[in-house]
């Protein structure tokens, strides 16, 4: 039904998040029609993001070419407050609220045994090292307001207890079961502002 290259493209597109077989087919046929320059621009963008984007050595946000990320490199950010998120894309969501002036730590996921993710698979050890080395005084647990995010927050709160830092959790009020990235700036801003002390 398809030529082998077309089949391969549809298969690859279908592996992307949120793209089902129908959409993959639609995008593939669209790409067939566009001028070669447009297709090359897309493929270049994919290659260069893979080649030039790395994770920040300190906070695991996205960064360019092995450097620190923009937030870590910015001296004007408060150095003593850390906002712990699951993914770099959550950093984008929190930045959009303009409510937070500290730095971040992206765990690279949440506790999720079903997907084989335990504490070892997350950047938790690195977080603990940063608490001591950077003289952190407050850690805001900004994991997603769903079961896995809450479990991760609770786990971290217990782990952080002996360090004597203030541990807070963003306020409820975000849609339960949802993801930070879908929350609007206002709601997320209010959730940050209304954060509460966590009792481990």
């Amino acid at each position: 039904m398809y030529t082998p290259p077309l089949r391969a493209l549809i298969d690859e597109l279908g592996r992307l998040p949120g793209i089902g077989p129908k959409s993959a087919q639609r995008i593939a046929f669209h790409l067939l029609k566009v001028p070669i320059e447009d297709a090359l621009r897309l493929s270049d963008a994919i290659v260069s993001v893979k080649e030039r984007t790395t994770l920040c050595a300190r906070c695991f946000n996205v960064a360019e070419g092995g450097e620190l990320c923009d937030v870590c490199a910015d001296d004007r950010r408060e150095a003593t407050t850390l906002c712990v998120v699951e993914d770099p894309r959550d950093i984008v969501a929190v930045e959009r609220t303009q409510q937070f002036r500290g730095r971040y730590h992206a765990l690279q996921g949440a506790l999720n045994p079903l997907e084989g993710i335990g504490p070892e698979q997350l950047r938790i050890k690195e977080l603990l090292v940063r608490i001591e080395e950077e003289g952190i005084t407050e850690v805001i647990l900004c994991t997603n307001p769903n079961l896995e995010g809450e479990a991760t927050a609770m786990y971290l709160a217990r782990l952080l207890n002996p360090f004597g830092v203030t541990v807070t959790r963003i306020a409820s009020g975000l849609p339960v079961g949802g993801d930070l990235e879908y929350a609007d700036e206002l709601t997320l801003g209010r959730a940050l502002e209304g954060r509460r002390l966590v009792e481990p």
Binding site: P113, L147, M154, R158, G177
Partner: protein
């Protein structure tokens, strides 16, 4: 609450079909066996409960050769149009939308399309395992109490996470397993305790209605057995643990690790059913059991009608063929008025005023040659 149009795509034998029931009264669905009468009810019930009331796995509801089945319903609720869509996938995630908004949890659908189903398989509520009785309670909770519905979803998810963790632990309580297990146990203790309480409250609300319904159903027609007169009907929710769930969970931890299953929690609870002081599951006649199963369904339906302010869509799948005429009449008499879809293989009891008769072959054209939309 009123279902105006139902559209099916690759759902069981339907390639593409549309069904327009009477919006307020009773629609009788006719046709020979195997032409899809029950399937229409199954599709409506799926919207409300996200499962097959025939106990079929999701794949079985997808037409052979199809990748996914689609159920789309146009309803009216409180004068407002409601569009509910569900997509059943053979592989990957099944999805649902209400008014084009993705719904994340089953409760959102139960809330959008409240349904009550009566079917001959309901006998299994009394005769079968505890899961059937928990399903009865949980379906009712999803329909009646959005908060409890959210708790149910959380319990299910925590149990799956906990099971995965126990399997990965391989019987050993390593420190990393212990510390994460504690977190999941906390969530399970909270949500599981809340669920048991919600089920218990629901059971207390249902019991007087079950007693009343059983009296009416068993009292109609020939006595179901010698103890029928001595009916004291008892409906009691039974937790599988004593005291706080958190304590029970930590007491069971070693056992859970060794067996790699969660041995304590609301997923092991049961609803005890008694007739005349005896366990109805094993010590009642089949006639008594059938009456009790109907009484349980009827009790939920009446409670839902009171709480929601209108009767859920009533689905009666071949119920009358299992009941004598007097009991059939008694059941019909006790049902609050509302939209009803029914299939039957026997003449209808008096008291059912039929608004529309719908021959399912008009949309399937028999099994082989379905008419496209």
């Amino acid at each position: 609450m009123s279902l105006l149009h139902l559209y099916l795509q690759d759902f069981r034998l339907f390639v593409a079909a549309r069904f327009d029931p009477d919006p307020v009264g009773t629609t009788v669905i006719t046709g020979p066996n195997g032409t899809g009468k029950t399937t229409l009810l199954e599709a409506v019930a799926y919207l409300g409960t996200q499962r097959s009331f025939r106990g079929a796995p999701r794949e079985a509801m997808i037409r052979a050769g199809g990748e996914r089945a689609v159920i789309r319903a146009e309803l009216v609720r409180d004068g407002l149009p409601l569009l509910v869509e569900a997509e059943l996938a053979a592989v990957g995630k099944s999805r649902a939308q209400v008014n084009r908004q993705a719904v994340r949890t089953r409760r959102d659908l139960a809330d959008a399309v409240p349904v009550t189903i009566f079917s001959p398989e309901d006998l299994g509520i009394v005769q079968g395992g505890p899961a059937r009785r928990r399903d009865l309670l949980d379906d009712a909770l999803r329909m009646l109490d959005p908060k409890a519905g959210a708790v149910l979803d959380e319990v299910e998810r925590v149990l799956r996470q906990r099971a995965a963790l126990l399997r990965q632990a391989g019987g050993h309580l390593r420190p990393d397993v212990a510390s994460t297990l504690e977190v999941w146990d906390d969530r399970l203790a909270d949500a599981g305790g809340a669920l048991a309480e919600a089920r218990q409250n629901l059971t207390e609300d249902l019991e007087p209605r079950v007693v009343e319904s059983y009296r009416i159903l068993a009292g109609a027609g020939p006595a179901v057995s010698s103890v029928a007169d001595a009916t004291s009907v008892g409906v009691t929710y039974r937790r599988g643990w004593d005291g706080p769930l958190a304590v029970a969970l930590s007491a069971a931890r070693a056992d859970d690790l060794r067996r790699a299953v969660s041995t304590v929690g609301p997923h092991r609870d049961d609803l005890d059913l008694e007739l005349g002081g005896r366990d109805a599951r094993v010590q009642a006649s089949q006639g008594e059991q059938r009456c009790l199963a109907l009484a349980l369904r009827l009790a939920v339906h009446r409670l839902a009608t009171e709480r929601l302010g209108a009767a859920p869509i009533l689905l009666l799948d071949d119920v009358f063929s299992e009941l004598d005429p007097d009991r059939s009449r008694a059941l019909v008499h006790e049902l609050p008025p509302g939209q009803t879809l029914l299939t039957t293989a026997v003449p209808l009891p008096d008291g059912v005023s039929v608004a529309t008769v719908f021959d399912v072959r008009s949309i399937t054209g028999g099994q082989q040659n379905p008419r496209p939309l």
